[in-house]
Amino acid sequence: MTPQEDFTHDAMQYAPQLFSTAMRMTRNRNNAEDLVQETFIKAWRSFATYQQGTNLRAWLFRIMTNTYINKYNAQQRKPTETELDDVEELFLYKRLGAVDQSQLSQSAEDQMLSMFTDDEVKNALEELPDQFRIPVLMSDVEGFSYKEIAEILEIPLGTVMSRLHRGRKSMQKMLYEYAKKRGLINEALLPQGDDE
């Protein structure tokens, strides 16, 4: 295979991952498809500058993230520390002890799996503001390292860590609200004074 064919083959392997991330970014199938398409067109045009053997996957995610930020005016670099409510540490863990065991027959480990639907997890992610959502997507869904995420987003390592921390806690709170809405959590069983 020529280097071009290799490149195409390798890039196409990442299409499903890029599409899922694009779906969480844009929350819309047509826009997500456009975003991945634009990413591949840009990648192909930059093929000359791509060094074989370097991290193609991170490179593609970086192109896609930049494209998304520019196209949708995502508030990537604005200081938005107040944009998320401060959520206490171990928010969900402290509360899921209150789940009525009789409603769940599975083992403790399977409880969360059965409790939240795919849509709820996707919604909780999509509700996060961009600057928190993208690091959580990159770490928890795509498995990138903090260093890779810092490079993809062009932000300092410490910022990656603090955004991940706050984004994850905020997601826990959202999922908890969904579970409450569906009547899966009996608030009467919660430890007194531990809410909020």
Partner: protein, 80 residues
């Protein structure tokens, strides 16, 4: 060995495989002897894997991969 506070603070860094080997060993050492931290750790490991599992499955539309393949090698493609 790490204490409870350190273990909870560094739990995610450990889960994300971001701790140096020596520090990871100290955290594992604590998890082995502290059931409270062990249980918090298992919960968050599960939470992380659930996010991955449930947010990764988006079915591709028919023909989408073919359209993507056309992005490569066609110099006539213009910016959308």
């Amino acid at each position: 060995m790490a204490n409870c506070q350190e273990t909870l603070n560094e739990m995610y860094a450990y889960l994300d495989a971001e701790l140096a080997t020596e520090r990871a060993t100290e955290i594992i050492g604590h998890l082995k002897v502290c059931t409270d931290c062990q249980s918090a750790y298992e919960f968050h490991a599960e939470f992380k894997s659930i996010i991955r599992l449930k947010a990764q499955k988006d079915e591709l539309s028919e023909g989408f991969l073919d359209r993507l393949r056309e992005c490569f090698g066609d110099d006539s493609l213009k910016d959308a």
